[in-house]
């Protein structure tokens, strides 16, 4: 038999993120003891080449060195002479599909059309299967939209490479950094960002030949490596209904070879399809142990040779680490020298797969309108808001000394007007009042607009309260909040404050005493509750029954003549919209409990959101209004809701103008522009994107800088002073040109600092 059946198996990497070649060889050796198994590898560093089940190893030079045409001819020759080929390398499978567009009877890998149908993240072939695809966008969309996507999914998102790699990016800074790394590694701007699904990981592994599903196994992971790879699992039969759907899908795709459908099952039992691997998975031999030898079944069907089928040894499998002897003909290579002063032996992927991806990429000019798999992606948002452009037209930048903060009066008026419309759920019993958080931007123009728009002023210090009174607010329209509201008390205006929210039980006791003595007056006395289960340093903690009881006892001591209120605050832009929504519902429960135990009716609820302006704008605040409608159901005594949109109002109202000091051009087309602005004037650069516009001198139009390969360097002698990465500079850019960084009206303004100015 050995002379009659030769099977080439590629992909023998056996590290912590292994390829399935060794597992396939073990399964085929069990099914075809006399077959000749030839391992194919592209690096002698892949330890799988030493695995004992291989009769021979066909070692190639790494992909980056390989003459692909010659390699293709050699593979074709072997197939034509009767050998079979099972590939375990996604990129090799894609390449083979190009070399053999109509397939080859002995090539046991899927065809080009089938591969396109399972391309991630959209996986068009999922239609008809009882699975959903987690929502995703490609990184071709604007930074503005990427940030919105991350907020929508609570920053629980994965940045995925076009072929391999998925990296958790829990904040904007990480996302920018990894986008740059992956884009460079895979030589593409088209990565994808996909929402995380919480649940248990499962897979369907199958084998098919010319569109006929031969067998299928359902694997539930029981143990995982640190990289989330299978370490142990249950191998189960596939439910008949799912099997039927898979059979139809495979037939439609005319699939040949192995495949793995990687999924997550959520708490409600819904299956989410993450990826379809066009090959057997690395745990393939785990299935063989449980009585389903899919590689042997595939080869049996393709060759007509009968395989030896052994009974199941177990219904489950697990892995161990084994040492094996090194083949004499492939002695181990030395370790690379550590880089000067470096730690560890930093090495590239041994087989040059990344370089191979780049080669493939070069051969297939990508469509910039697609997600890398020629599937057009929807655009999410508008361009620069019209009000920004209106405001910019009214600013004569020739008279502005940069870096300069620009006030957008039209935009500001619009923001306050729109905010007043948010949460239109007022009833006779419930009044919605908005409060302007002075700390977001204490600019007098904004404070006066807040006053004109009927807002309260929320102050975190007596100095802020004094600023509010200077802008026309009387004490009755000031809300005192924060942990240090009595710092420099002598600056505190006199009068009866609208509300005072205490940050600790200690403060609550002091304030209660002062209210009793008449030393302090307030229309409402309340507490700020620390957000449970979300890390915060603010407010009174309730994360143990004892703390909860202490809080209740303190509330009971408050003067009953003054209405009671509760405040909570968490930036939805940081924790995400969905999580904030849950926090809100959770806080309503806690407030209900506080009310019940303290015997004090909650009459005022102060909600701080830290929303991104876009999250409010997109649905005209309807989602927010829906949440407010829940309040009377939980807290029937609430008569006033104080809503603090925070930076949602201030952020769009200002921009920062910077001038180009110098342009540095490099080979390959990338540029660096040294700006006269810096992170000192734009401190939120690390936390959210800023839309950058430049005026076209010919058309006189303001245009947004698109993504490109240039970097805007701040003027400071600080390594991290980079105010924008991956932007495309205007073709005619020159020193003296002005770029305007929009969306800089909130903490960029209030937290900016003087640096490097002597």
């Amino acid at each position: 038999m050995k002379k009659n059946l030769t099977i080439y198996i590629s992909g023998l990497y056996s590290g912590t993120n292994p390829q399935p070649g060794v597992g396939i060889a073990r399964s085929l050796r069990q099914g075809f003891p006399d077959a000749e198994l030839v391992g194919v590898e592209y690096s002698n560093r892949c330890s799988g080449i030493h695995w004992q089940d291989f009769d021979d190893i066909w070692l190639q030079r790494p992909w980056n060195e390989l003459d692909l045409d010659l390699h293709a001819r050699e593979i074709r020759s072997r197939l034509d002479h009767g050998a079979f080929w099972i590939s375990s390398i996604d990129l090799e499978i894609m390449w083979l599909a190009e070399i053999f567009p109509d397939g080859h009877p002995n090539l046991l890998t899927p065809n080009k059309r089938a591969l396109a149908a399972v391309a991630k993240p959209a996986i068009p072939a999922h239609t008809g299967l009882p699975v959903s695809i987690p929502e995703f966008v490609t990184t071709n969309v604007s930074d503005w939209d990427l940030h919105a996507f991350c907020r929508k999914y609570d920053w629980k998102v994965w940045l995925k490479g076009p072929y391999y790699e998925a990296i958790r990016t829990p904040n904007w800074s990480d996302l920018c950094r990894w986008r740059s790394v992956l884009s460079s590694a895979w030589a593409t701007e088209t990565l994808s960002l996909q929402a995380h699904v919480t649940g248990y990981e499962e897979s369907f592994m199958l084998c098919a030949y010319r569109g006929e599903l031969l067998d299928c196994v359902h694997m539930k992971k029981r143990d995982l490596t640190e990289l989330g790879k299978t370490w142990a699992g249950d191998a189960l039969p596939v439910e008949p209904s799912i099997l039927n759907s898979l059979r139809k899908t495979i037939r439609k795709l005319k699939w040949t070879g192995g495949a793995e459908f990687e999924m997550v099952r959520d708490a409600e039992d819904e299956l989410w399809l993450l990826e379809v691997n066009p090959r057997f998975p690395a745990w393939v031999h785990g299935s063989t142990i449980t009585g389903r030898n899919l590689p042997a079944i595939l080869v049996e069907e393709a060759t007509g040779h009968s395989a030896l089928h052994l009974p199941a040894e177990s219904g489950q499998f697990t892995r161990v680490v084994l040492e094996v002897p090194v083949r004499e003909e492939f002695p181990l290579s030395p370790l690379a020298e550590p880089y000067g002063g470096g730690i560890g032996h930093s090495m590239k992927h041994p087989s040059g797969l990344i370089e191979f991806a780049q080669k493939l990429h070069d051969r297939n000019t990508p469509n910039s309108e697609s997600n890398g798999h020629r599937i057009p992606m929807p655009e999410i948002s508008d361009d620069i808001p019209d009000s920004y452009l209106d405001d910019l037209q009214n600013i004569d930048l020739r008279n502005v000394q940069t870096p300069a903060s620009l006030f957008f009066p039209n935009t500001a008026r619009k923001m306050f007007a729109n905010a007043a419309l948010i949460g239109q759920v007022e009833t006779e019993d419930l009044k919605i009042t908005h409060a302007y958080s002075i700390k977001t931007n204490p600019d007098e123009r904004l404070l006066r607009l807040a006053l004109e728009s009927g807002f309260l002023a929320e102050a975190i210090s007596p100095l802020e309260a004094r600023k509010a009174t200077e802008c026309g607010f009387d004490a009755g329209r000031i809300v005192l909040n924060g942990p240090a509201k009595w710092w420099r008390r002598d600056e505190l205006p006199t009068g009866e404050f609208h509300a005072i929210f205490c940050d600790s039980v200690e403060e609550l006791g002091d304030v209660a005493a002062q209210l009793d003595s008449g030393e302090l007056r307030a229309q409402t006395i309340g507490i700020r509750v620390r957000t449970p289960n979300i890390v915060s340093r603010f407010g009174i903690p309730i994360d143990s029954p004892e703390l909860f009881e202490t809080l209740i006892n303190s509330i009971r001591k408050l003067p009953r003549s003054i209405p009671f209120g509760i405040h909570f605050h968490m930036a939805s832009s940081n924790i995400g919209v969905r999580q904030w929504r849950h926090l809100f519902k959770s806080m309503l429960r806690w407030c209900g409990s506080i009310e019940a135990f303290s015997g004090r009716v909650v009459e005022t609820l102060d909600i701080g959101g830290g929303w991104d302006p876009e999250d409010i704008r997109r649905d005209n605040g309807s989602e927010y209004a829906d949440l407010l409608k829940l309040i009377p159901q939980s807290l029937s005594g609430v008569t006033e809701v104080i809503a603090e949109p925070g930076k949602a109002i201030a952020q769009p109202t200002m921009a920062l103008a910077m001038s180009v000091l110098e342009i540095r051009k490099y080979l390959g087309g990338s540029c660096e522009a040294v700006m006269d602005g810096s992170i000192a004037e734009l401190p939120m650069h690390f936390f959210h994107p800023h839309r950058i516009v430049a005026k076209n001198e010919v058309s006189k139009e303001w245009r947004e800088l698109k993504r490109g390969n240039s970097t805007l360097l701040g003027r400071l002698c600080m390594e991290h002073d980079i105010v924008a990465r991956d932007v495309e500079l205007p073709e005619d850019v020159k020193a003296g040109d002005v770029f305007v960084f929009c969306d800089a009206g909130a903490y960029d303004r209030s937290m900016s600092y003087v640096f490097g100015c002597g």
Binding site: A267, D269, P532, N533, D543, I552
Partner: protein, 217 residues
């Protein structure tokens, strides 16, 4: 895993079974046991804690789905054999809580979320080596080892009825859903009883479970 030792009916039943040389069923020695309870003083001291558990559970969902297991309970309250009666206001004063208390807390969490849940009694297989260790732990902590057999133990969890009427079994002391296919070997589930106010039948994996009836798996 130790529970109800303070209650007369349980002690009697256990003593009766200990003298039995060969139990017919794996659950025999615990078949008269009722699920553990956290007692309530009928005062605010206990109500604080109970309310806190419900609210904390909802907060800990963190935007996740209501049917997710309340894993925070085990993370917050380490497992260890305990004594009964135990009151709500005491649970945070104990350094460790047993499976009966864990299961009661999980049941409280699920039902407050609006999910149909049942207290569930379990018999799990381990090994003589493991049971000897637990017995020794009980001796040191002065707690009764009545939940420990030769190579099996009495355990408690919580059954929940999820979407589509599907039954799932939550091991609140482990923080995972019990696998219906693992019915032999170390750590496997050998018998189960769902405790309910009225008779109902549920499919759990390949097993048909009648409420209030012990089922050997």
């Amino acid at each position: 895993m130790y529970l109800d030792a303070g209650r007369e009916i349980t002690e009697t039943a256990v003593e009766h079974v200990t003298i039995s040389a060969a139990p017919k069923e794996v659950f025999e020695q615990w078949k008269e046991w009722r699920p553990a309870q956290i007692s309530h003083h009928g005062r605010i001291c206990c109500e604080y804690v109970r309310e806190w558990v419900g609210n904390t559970d909802f907060s800990a969902l963190n935007g996740g789905k209501l049917e997710a297991g309340p894993r925070w309970i085990r993370q917050r309250f380490e497992w260890g054999p305990g004594k009964y009666p135990i009151y709500w206001c005491e649970i945070l004063k104990r350094s460790k809580l047993d499976c009966g208390v864990h299961a009661t807390l999980a049941h409280e969490a699920f039902t407050r979320r609006g999910i149909k849940a049942f207290r569930t009694q379990l018999v799990q297989e381990f090994s003589p080596c493991a049971t000897a260790q637990w017995r020794s732990g009980c001796d040191k902590n002065d707690t009764a080892p009545t939940w420990i057999g030769d190579d099996v133990i009495y355990h408690e969890g919580c059954s929940v009825v999820g979407s589509g009427g599907r039954l799932k079994l939550w091991d609140s002391s482990a923080g995972w859903w019990i696998d219906p296919n693992t019915v032999t070997g170390y750590g496997s589930l050998r018998a189960v009883r769902i405790v309910a106010t009225h008779a109902e039948t549920f499919q759990w994996g390949n097993h048909l479970l009648q409420t209030n009836e012990w089922t050997s798996l």
